[in-house]
Subunit: 322 residues, 4 copies
């Protein structure tokens, strides 16, 4: 604990800005940085195909396969469909469709044979297309597996962080809750929480755009198992950089809690990382989390994954949580 709560150097997100910036980590888990000049799609194709969402991915793969087939079909049509065993009708559309079916039968290596290449040039094109089909199939298998097997945790963070009394004490604390949306168990879960706070000018009480960073001490910074949810708690005692600061001031000073989690995911057999942030607008006062599990009569514990956000008003005059 000794080295916690103290002011630290920039954890890598930039400390000194000349004007107001947006939050550091966006709600969708990306950083508020637009990168200009990164590797393009061709230079970094695997990375791109692995990380785009499923819909664009399917669109890209389908487009590549379809346009390849359309192109080969055009070549067969141009050579003349009599060379692939078809009977020319003289109508472009009918002939092109025949050429397209031959192309698909070659690309997928179905090769019924009712149409087959008859001539050296068309034989060469068909050979190329068959290899092309195999290659694209191998490639797609690899990318598909890469997308599936990429170790990704599915940790859900509570919508807000609560500024709430710490159980059984007079201290306040800031708390948020996480849960694993998957049905597997995460082991050796560790959390780190940093606070970014804009500098205060002691003379005129204004705030600069220069950020100070603090490493917040946690009630518990790791747990061995995570079958339930985990409420991560920073106690706002005298050593805390949050001590004595009102929520209004936190908003003005663009306070942002940066969080990283990592743990061992049973399904992937690998460590996975998550990160998230709460800005001061997402801090809530006078609330406390309601436990999101209960014990059934038979002794089973029932965990309500979607209740990770469940909270209630703190009744007045109460200072102890059961």
């Amino acid at each position: 604990m000794a080295d916690k709560n103290k002011k630290i150097l920039d954890p890598g997100v930039g400390a000194s800005y000349r004007q107001r910036t947006k939050r550091i980590i966006n709600p969708d888990g990306t950083f508020n940085v637009r990168r200009i000049g990164t590797l393009n799609v061709i230079q970094d194709a695997y990375h791109w195909l692995i990380t785009i969402p499923w819909l664009p991915f399917i669109a890209v793969v389908t487009s590549v396969i379809l346009s390849t087939n359309f192109l080969y079909a055009y070549i067969y049509w141009f050579i003349g469909i009599e060379y692939i065993g078809g009977a020319p009708t003289g109508f472009f559309w009918d002939d092109y469709v025949s050429a397209l079916f031959f192309s698909v039968q070659t690309f997928t290596t179905v090769g019924y044979g009712a149409m087959s290449p008859d001539g050296q040039f068309v034989g060469l094109i068909a050979s190329l297309e068959a290899f092309n089909g195999l290659l694209l199939s191998a490639f797609s298998t690899g990318i598909l597996y890469g997308r599936f097997s990429r170790p990704m945790s599915k940790i859900k963070f509570s919508e807000v962080a609560l500024l709430t009394p710490y159980k059984g004490t007079d201290d306040y604390s800031i708390q948020f809750r996480i849960i694993n949306k998957r049905s597997n168990t995460v082991l050796h879960m560790k959390a780190s929480v940093f606070l970014s706070l804009n500098d205060k000018n002691d003379r005129d009480g204004t705030y600069s755009h220069r950020r100070d960073f603090y490493d917040l001490s946690l009630e518990r910074s790791s747990i061995m198992f995570m079958p339930l949810s985990w409420t991560i708690v920073h106690i706002i005692d005298k050593n805390s950089p949050l001590y004595g600061i009102t929520l209004k001031e936190l908003v003005e000073r663009q306070a942002e809690m940066l969080i990283t989690l990592n743990g061992y995911d049973e399904t992937f057999g690998q460590d996975t990382y998550s990160y998230h942030s709460y800005v001061a607008d997402e801090f809530e006062e006078n609330k406390r989390f309601i436990r999101n599990f209960n014990v059934a009569d038979n002794g089973d514990i029932l965990l309500h994954v979607n209740d990770v956000d469940l909270r209630e008003d703190i009744p007045p005059k109460e200072d102890k949580e059961s």
Copy 2:
């Protein structure tokens, strides 16, 4: 050792319950938590297909492939099998079977050609099915490999933990034994053992459902190689939370030892984790483990993997183990 044996915060399994719960970790290695609202099969398909047992997995894959083929066959039959080069018999069953064979020949890309599409609409359907077949084949290859290559250890824990004298001393100890059921070697094996014990009410001698947790110190918490079995020993000396507690009280206080192991598995080239628990009902007194290996005349060591549970009564008046 200094930080061992002490009371610790909840390792993540929940400390405060209002009624009696079942054991924390079930004998089958799952946690006694029913998770409501996790990602469903569609949202988390890879995870699901990777973790279900082999029989349901094979059933799912077979069902998907068969129903796809039955569906396409129905479409071909509906269009009319004369469009796939068959001769309609007028009997549904015979015609449908012909359509089904054509469907399989297309899906698997065998494409003998005795039947082949004849017409633009049926040609389109057959093209779709051929791509469909390739896609499902790529998908299955990926999932199959994912299932195989998932790093999983095959550690067997002894059925019971023994409360038994520690060799050559007057101290008691609690011991259990583990063995690798695979024929490979695990390196850098590390063990952590936690004890969960329900709170004792000192006034009336009753026990609450609130759990206390302790980090148990181990005689040895890691070994470099594990070609043999490993007996993991916690010595119940004065610093131990188990000191002076009878087995009867342990049962009443729902004592449970939570164990995590991790080590480097040569076959997968990755760290793997195992966890397990012993509840007080699985603690045995007045027994000791019998060594499960012996030396052959030629100097070979013979290890009997299935003897990991082998134990014998401690003869009266003996306090030293050879």
Copy 3:
């Protein structure tokens, strides 16, 4: 920090040489070591196929596939193309091309059937080729995926390291800047910097070819996130082995900074390593880095990846950086 800046044992690159050597790590990221007697291509095929650049890789795969097909085609031609359902023309070229098309149709498992084996010997060869094709296809799929999924970071190092005043102090520092060329985020980035410096002979002021190594302390040796660039700084204070040495002497003593980086790459879900070196010829004086990001009016941060090298002359008489 206590154990930094001190002289250390050789970090593995050889300390004692009898004559002048080239730099330790080449600008292309390889070590200046020619290894004689390593495993050859056959013994270590996977490693070789995974690490050669894309152009040679494609050339190798294409050559293997083409020569396999040419060989089988020759066998079919030698047996006689009448046994594969072709009509011999008596011209080698025409017959060989027919045999080649049959070979490709078998290898890719297209199997149109216009040509098909007719005879037991040719049937055996065609069966072998079909298996051969499947095997090579499986093999290529695996290698292709292996190439794609190999965890590799794309860290760009600034061209030069700057000997420049440390902000707001009288101390000098040596600085270089790194950036991630990918659009993903690297987490828990750690840096280690070693200095190699040839021994000075205090009597005659000459330098030997024996290298001393130092572990350089860094202003910050790790950052939690790397959405921006990272300027890695060693302060040349009195404890630094670089203290009081001129750039000219550094060149003469073959000074070389050896750098290793490692961090967790989101895309691969794995730790990746990078290494690099700066020799004294790549140290620049009287320059400072210009920040390579700016804040847009809407609060977005714009990062210019290719400006990682951007630097400017330090105006005379200035000793503080904004």
Copy 4:
């Protein structure tokens, strides 16, 4: 260093034996343990197929594929080859070969179509075989990739460990040398060395079969880069358990040095482990290692991988190595 050289608990290989055993780690890198009752081939197929050598692997895969084809061929023959479009000859062999070719064409999905199923029962069998072929192909692709991508280091250990003076001192040392047989670079290489020594009975000078274990301190226990070879050195000073023991006694006491290495392998992007042992019979006195690299005139370093064993007699009266 403080916690090194001391006597430690059994690192997992068994301390107490009632009779003489063979060495702990065999020269081929396996442990001298015969495991009885491990998971069998069916229960642990992936592990088995991934770890058997290439020749048995190829034999197994070929056998499975061939016997599958022979079996299906027999079924087709039994049904009658007229149902697969063949003309029965009345000779078993000729008909069976035709059935076999049809089987291969179906299994590999070549499907020329000169033979094709004609009848519902044979159509069903052929459909099964086509799926079977796809499945085995997917399976083989996965296993093949699993074999290739398994992270394995190719570290070569010197044949012997040398008991030799430590450079520039009066102390003796025990040294061995390792080299990477691959052409890639290993990063962050770490070594641990344990000594196993049979107990000495101080009364009668005999030795028991009970082993003591020591953690040997190393001159350097890790290196940052390993482009060259690495000589791992334990100095036999007064704190060493080897101090004052003759080689003859070491042989009698079955001394064995157990070594584990691990480092990050660039090609696999993963940590890999190696282990090895030297028994006292493999300790050599009065020799020293000759450096296995030299500097070319152009400053290139030439490393002779196969010279890792190169050693020479120590000339009498010399106590300093250059």
